[in-house]
């Protein structure tokens, strides 16, 4: 089932070094690229069906098309390498095993959109990863792939790494821009969208690392070759990160559209320790959970995930075995989002804190019957009432656990002696 498009060089020793990467084709698309018209590059990417791999799945070429024409301002590209959504660990492989593929992708994107300055926003915890990436960029400058004349062409391109410092919300594209501007990572209201008013008030495209790294293949082999993988609406391949209770967790490149359970059983070795499956989180912690029944019918693509009322997300699949205590899992999740709230919107800042208090009441044995409804009501009052969707990234999955595993919450209430009057009467 596994394919090697993005991961073609991942197993080669020292593949992050320019010399090695070049032997295996790095920067091979540039001659073709500079012979193309930028508009044709955008067209090719549109035709490839490439969708953003950061979580939302927005078509890459279409987003580039939103840039205003003939504006007398610089255009920026920000590459989102914040990779902080729990259960997501795919972009890191690109950063350390094939950074030149990403740099080549940056050149392709910048040429297409007419940008001469790109920032790579990397999460602060990626220390050795940052070092490898910076070395690759330095090598690319020395070899003339970056700088005043990219590969000898009349095209300047500077690439700068901007290091985050431990804030999940900076993965949200406008918080990311604020952070580069030297501010707290607090998302902006949209519209205006960054393609019109972005970094330093200039038109800006934000794309995920994997989206950008998919470009060299598309330009080299063409849109059709990319479409040969995946489904009609979910073209290409994806670096799936499989974690949790499986025998062989890890990162696997697969075409989109495969049945989830086949992948779990045949690629990831199945549920560990011979245990039963309780649920699957399909695309990072913010995606609604799937029951085993749903897991058996869903396929790994945007359409099927939507039909199952969840999301493809970042492709970070988490397997939950029969021993998982859903209530405690939900506590862990809410604690994450509460901690990572940027604090600017009251429903998110306060509401997630209330949710955390309530779930902790359950765990302490003080849960009340109407607390389940209260949690659901809170979800409704928080969701879509904030500047960004960080809060919804918490309430959407929480609601799914409450609906699909309600009995586990109820059993916490029933097993607790929270009603002293009643227990005395007995």
């Amino acid at each position: 089932m596994e394919v090697k498009i993005l991961s073609a060089k991942f197993d080669i020793e020292d593949s992050h070094r320019l010399e090695v990467a070049k032997k295996h084709g790095a920067y091979g698309t540039l001659e073709k690229l500079f012979a193309m018209d930028p508009a044709d590059v955008i067209e090719e990417v549109k035709n490839s069906g490439l969708r953003g791999r950061g979580g939302a799945g927005f078509p890459a070429g279409v987003k580039w098309g939103f840039l205003p024409k003939d504006l007398d301002k610089p255009i920026y590209l920000a590459v989102n390498s914040d990779e902080s959504e729990p259960a997501t660990f795919k972009d890191r492989y690109i950063l350390v095993r094939d950074p030149h593929m990403m740099i080549e992708g940056i050149i392709i994107c910048c040429y297409a959109i007419g940008s001469h300055d790109s920032y790579i926003y990397i999460r602060g915890e990626y220390t050795s990863q940052l070092k490898i990436l910076q070395e690759a960029i330095d090598e690319a400058y020395e070899a003339g792939y970056l700088g005043e004349q990219v590969a000898g062409h009349d095209f300047r391109l500077d690439v700068t790494v901007h290091r985050g410092a431990g804030a999940y919300v900076c993965g949200e594209e406008t918080a990311l821009l604020e952070s580069i501007e030297g501010k707290k990572g607090q998302p902006r209201s949209k519209p205006p969208f960054p393609a019109v008013v972005g970094l330093y008030d200039c038109p800006t495209i934000i794309n995920n690392v994997q989206s950008i790294a998919s470009l060299p293949f598309i330009i080299e082999k063409g849109a059709e070759a990319y479409r040969a993988y995946g489904t009609e609406k979910s073209a290409g391949t994806h670096l799936f990160g499989i974690s949790g209770h499986v025998e062989k967790p890890g990162m696997y490149e697969l075409p989109l559209g495969l049945p989830l359970m086949e992948v779990l059983n045949e690629v990831a070795g199945g549920v560990w320790k011979g245990r039963q499956l309780k649920g699957v989180i399909p695309g990072g912690s913010s995606t609604p959970v799937l029951t085993p029944e749903e897991a058996h019918t869903v396929t790994l693509d945007y359409e099927s995930m939507a039909e199952h009322k969840t999301m493809f997300g970042s492709g970070g699949i988490v397997v939950l075995d029969e021993t998982v205590d859903i209530v405690k899992l939900v506590e862990n999740l809410i604690a994450f989002y509460h901690h990572e709230s940027c604090g600017q919107c009251t429903p998110c800042r306060e509401g997630l804190g209330w949710m955390l208090k309530i779930i902790r009441k359950f765990i302490a044995g003080d849960g009340r019957e109407d607390d389940i409804e209260l949690l659901l009501e809170l979800c409704d009052n928080i969701e879509m009432k904030t500047v960004c969707v960080l809060s919804a990234a918490c309430t959407m999955p929480v609601r799914s656990y409450l609906e699909k595993f309600r009995h586990e919450f109820e059993s916490y209430i029933n097993s607790s002696n929270s009603d002293p009057v009643q227990s005395q009467a007995e």
């Binding site: 431990g166 999940y168 030297g182 988490v318 990572e340």
Partner: protein
């Protein structure tokens, strides 16, 4: 780490050493506005001193050309900036989803007992500090810890013993 509302004086003046000074000058050319240098400069200062003192914050403000309050604001918002000294070995244990499922609690409990620390504390001799952090992007090899930025994956008590024995 835990209290992020106060700055502490180191009692020493702060300036960048020459390597960091050069790095600051290289980077500032990459940004159209000076404020973009606050975060990179905070990183440089923290790498040099291990944490961010009142003096370091004031120095960064002066170099960038902004108010100390603005620099302080960023230093408190972004949790990887240390507003007080951490241990010689700063241990971060991931507490989130995949590490939680793969028994991160055993890791935290073992370290807490072995080092006599609760998450958020620094040992009296200044050797160790322990922190629980959110997803570190290594979920496929959970549970993971970071020691001074370096990742240790698929951790268990046996591996922790070997790791701790190697730190002195």
């Amino acid at each position: 780490m835990s209290d992020r509302s106060q700055l502490i004086s180191s009692g020493q003046p702060f300036t960048f050493d020459s390597a960091r000074d050069a790095e600051f000058e290289r980077l500032i050319k990459r940004y159209p506005i000076r404020e973009s240098m606050i975060m990179p400069a905070l990183w440089l200062a923290q790498e040099q001193e291990g944490w961010l003192s009142t003096e370091a914050i004031a120095y960064v403000a002066e170099r960038v050309g902004t108010y100390p309050a603005k620099v302080f604001e960023l230093a408190t918002f972004y949790t990887m900036y240390h507003l007080k000294p951490v241990g010689k070995y700063h241990l971060c244990v991931c507490r989130t989803l995949s590490c939680y499922l793969r028994e991160k609690q055993e890791i935290v409990d073992y370290l807490a007992a072995e080092l006599g620390l609760r998450p958020g504390e620094v040992s009296e001799d200044g050797m160790f500090s322990l922190e629980e952090v959110e997803c570190l992007g290594h979920c496929g090899t959970a549970p993971v810890i970071q020691v001074n930025g370096e990742f240790h994956e698929e951790m268990n008590v046996e591996k922790l013993k070997t790791l701790l024995a190697g730190l002195d």
